[in-house]
Amino acid sequence: MLVTINGKKSDVIPDSNIQDVIRTKNLEMTAIIIDLNGNIIAPEHWSDTFLHKDDDLEIIQIIGGG
């Protein structure tokens, strides 16, 4: 199933939730922000938010900046 993750088309297993995606990417859970189709998804909903075809997922982190 194709979804967009951080601007790139990515193939994910159907019925994946956000938590699954984060796990496969090996990301530190406390350091990221999830925006799905323009809505922020709170961490407690990552495991019950499932991805659908053509979803636009942004995985964002806070870094140093001026």
Binding site: E28, E58, I60, I62, I63, G64
Partner: protein, 257 residues
């Protein structure tokens, strides 16, 4: 004497804002904040790069710091608005530095898109601090749109060239009834002192500290320079005389009166 800088809902003692970009190591940042006594720091939002994930910036910042996420990367108002909302939702508070750049050569900000973004975000409850090219009309429109302060650039971002826009910033200080914070361009503590001495409410410094040989010591120097500049501003500089002795008096004709 109490001399606080009031912006939005905050009262600040320090007039030095610090940017956290370009540091070799995030672990320097708490030390820089401590030595400079800064209370406001900027952070940025980025898409995670899955190849090289970075450490979580926020774990290096203490709770009593005012976070000012910037919208760097935004090329227009709607991107800036989106970034601001993500930052707030992520727990960065309601301050935002609007930075909209679609000039990749000089990295100069787009004042027009910035005004549009301010309008939306100010109505949405943000404390909006726009980074801008010093222009009086644009600054007036930003103030009207609901900006909490105006942040004109002293020189193009990252150049360390100092207060090249001094005359224009002076006009903003005189005409705009909001704190004027010089952002970008300040390369040395003496330039930070100069900006504050002429009436700027604060300065935002990043590159000059982050790229110093000893960032922690440089941060301390900036903190002291800003304090000195503020004291000089409050004290009111003495007279420098331009009209020492007139060679041909203009009021001599009054003597017969």
């Amino acid at each position: 004497m109490e001399d606080k800088l009031k912006i939005g809902d905050k009262e600040l003692d320090s007039r030095l804002f610090i940017g956290t970009g370009k540091f070799a190591d995030y672990s320097l940042i708490p030390k820089v904040i401590e030595s400079s006594k800064a209370q406001v720091v900027t952070v940025a939002l980025r898409r995670v790069d899955f190849g090289t994930p970075e450490e979580n910036m926020l774990t290096f910042l203490s709770q009593n710091i005012v976070l000012m996420p910037n919208t760097s990367g935004a090329r227009n108002a709607s991107e800036a608005i989106r970034i601001a909302r993500i930052a707030r939702a992520a727990g960065c508070g309601n301050w935002v530095k609007i930075e909209i750049i679609n000039d990749q050569k000089y990295l100069l900000p787009n004042n027009f898109e910035t005004i549009k973004a301010i309008e939306v975000l100010a109505k949405d409850g943000f404390i909006v601090l726009p980074y801008m090219s010093p222009d009086l009309t644009a600054a007036k429109m930003m103030a009207e749109a609901g900006a909490a302060a105006i942040m004109p650039l002293g020189a193009p971002i990252g150049t360390n060239r100092g207060l090249k826009t001094r005359e224009l910033i002076q006009i903003l200080i005189s005409e705009i009834n909001l704190p004027i914070i010089v952002d970008a361009g300040i390369g040395r503590p003496s330039e930070a002192a100069e900006a504050i001495e002429m009436g700027a409410a604060a300065v935002l410094v990043n590159t000059a500290i982050a790229t110093a040989d000893d960032p922690v010591l440089m941060a301390e120097a900036f903190g002291q320079a800003v304090d000195a500049g503020r004291k000089a501003y409050l004290a009111g500089p003495g007279a420098t005389h331009q009209f020492a002795e007139a060679s041909s008096p203009l009021t001599g004709f009054l003597r017969n009166e």
